[in-house]
Symmetry: C2
Subunit: 367 residues, 2 copies
């Protein structure tokens, strides 16, 4: 029996999609670089471990992007990054000088990699400076702030995308396809969970004012995303419970959360997240005539997929490079991104309902 | 690095345990067969698919047991079974003549394989007839009935065991060991789920009067057991939610349940069960320095285990044969069974609390 997970078919599909993108007509409101067919210049805002270990190296692998500028509040990092990535002095900003990016035509896109509660401010300032914005997940700590971000980008006529890297990973595209095309019949139950053992107790992720929440906001959001794109629907109800075993370390934010979501068609997703322990990294779907899963599902690399028909064989890609190239391609071709601000807002609303369910000890309906 | 899952070590351990069992002193209150070193005679009560496809074939593989008698309400089955298993006419009973087993010295053990709500009656009648009882899970549909069963067997000085076959499977013994010996540090989060797509809408499993509950009572109990023996503790709180998408088929019993359990040490178990769909068959533990899991975990055969150190390599055994031989060995050697009535009662109490949590929409404390 032919395995339903054909690498060849995937590559063929990718090539067709790529060809379509190239054939798309050029639109009017483009940055100079996009019009000239040059790589788009990215400014990285926040040079923490994600920027250092993932995003900056990923930028070197992109086709349509280049690391043009950095924004950091830590002067010691300036020279290190300037040397490593050949960034001219004039393209190095701090949080006070940030707004001057408006005068720098080398910057097309601002990638916001700051603590969650700073996403709104820097997205809005970037939009006001006339830049497109790619903002890390979670979009912000409240729906209201997300709405302000969307509004600011609309007003500035600039694109806004949220850093949902998994939406660009072949393994995730495949589980979306298996669900959408009902390869194993209709999906009935989804199990999704993601957790890791958080280290340094002083980090911003454990501070409510900067993170807005704990494991759920940081990594539970991957499980939430997975459940949403495998179901292909929006949840109509959430029901959640929280466990906190370390009340000192997790004084301000959630440690472990279990939640379920019901979708209009009757699909149920059972999800969990934790900061207590690793190894929990899975997106599973049970459908009418079979099952499929990714495990590990949400790591930066090394994803593995299987179904009751066998192993999935898909190329490992750099999710960040693919995500940034896709956003650049959307800008260049004036296409909508598949992960716009509205997508980030949806997740923030659902996570807010999950916290409400925990607080009230009952199921919460979603509008 | 040496894998912690050594088949050789397991076999060595089994041999040592076996030797210890053989060396145990013979006790006084034994059945004639046990005293004579003969195989114990089993009477199977209820000749449905479990007896037909699993238990009767398993009896042929045991060392200490033999299929001596059958009890059935379906006359057509009598000759078929008599022919197939060479059962003499006098060892064939129906539900009216059942109590006459008291006069049949060929029967040492009654294995109750009836619908859940009949377990109590037939366990008590078997004990009154002077027979040891092995009773399928779930033990009964209420804690009160379980207590009556325990009392009846105590009064008759006969052993009572519940058919928790997984407790005798090498893969499950291994995950118990990994947890108990903290091979990956202390277990922090357990995920356990078991479901299948139930067929015939007319079967007793979908009738409340016979089953006492749905997926939870039938297969969720495996996840519950798994969470209990991996944690090595008893839950102090349960929190559950139910989903019912097919209100016709599942008019009387539960279709899908998600529940969490908290244990005294802080371990949390996230569990689920369903009658809607298959492929959900997992026992996973995330510990301080690694993880381990079985998937499939609860099937009659073909279990697979792995950890972050690699695959587990353990022999596949017939769970029912091992379970029955263990019970026979407990009778022969006057040893306590590891799955006594008290163990079955504990699960029924927890499942009752899970249903209460669903009904009341809040967490339920366990005494």
């Amino acid at each position: 029996m032919k395995t339903p997970h054909s690498r060849r078919e995937f590559i063929d599909r990718s090539i067709r999609l790529g060809a379509a993108a190239i054939a798309a007509p050029m639109a009017a409101s483009l940055t100079a670089h996009a019009q000239e067919g040059k790589k788009l210049g990215f400014a990285l805002v926040g040079l923490g471990s994600l920027s250092t270990n993932q995003i900056a190296p990923a930028l070197q692998k992109t086709k349509h992007c280049r690391l043009a500028a950095i924004v950091t509040g830590t002067p010691a990092k300036e020279q290190i990054w300037a040397d490593k990535y050949n960034i001219p002095r004039k393209n190095i900003y701090n949080y006070q000088t940030f707004d001057r990016i408006a005068d720098n035509p080398e910057i097309d896109v601002v990638y916001v990699v700051l603590p969650n509660a700073m996403h709104g401010e820097y997205t809005i300032r970037a939009a006001k400076a006339g830049k497109h914005v790619l903002c890390e997940k979670p979009m912000e700590v409240s729906a209201k702030r997300c709405e302000q971000m969307i509004e600011a980008c609309q007003k500035a006529k600039r694109k806004l995308a949220i850093g949902y890297r998994c939406q660009f990973a072949p393994h995730h595209l495949e589980v979306m396809r298996l669900a959408r095309e009902k390869v194993f019949g209709a999906v009935k139950i989804i199990e999704a969970s993601f957790g890791f053992r958080i280290g340094d107790p002083k980090q911003w992720r454990l501070r409510y004012d900067l993170a807005g929440g704990g494991a759920l906001m940081d990594v539970g959001i991957y499980a939430l995303q997975g459940a949403r794109y495998v179901s292909g629907e929006e949840p109509i109800e959430v029901f959640a419970t929280e466990t906190k075993t370390d009340k000192v370390k997790f004084k301000e934010v959630d440690e472990s959360i279990l939640w379920s979501m019901r979708f209009p068609s009757g699909v149920v997703a059972n999800c969990s997240t934790t900061y207590l322990v690793g190894g929990i990294n899975r997106l599973f779907a049970a459908a009418e005539t079979g099952w499929f899963e990714l495990d590990p599902a949400y790591s930066y690399g090394g994803l593995k997929g299987r179904s009751n028909k066998g192993e999935m064989d898909f190329p490992q890609v750099d999710h960040f490079a693919t995500e940034m190239d896709d956003f650049a391609s959307c800008i260049i071709n004036s296409k909508p991104t598949r992960a716009p601000g509205e997508e980030g807002l949806r997740d923030v609303k659902i996570m807010t309902a999950i916290y409400e369910s925990i607080r009230k000890g009952r199921a919460i309906k979603l509008g």
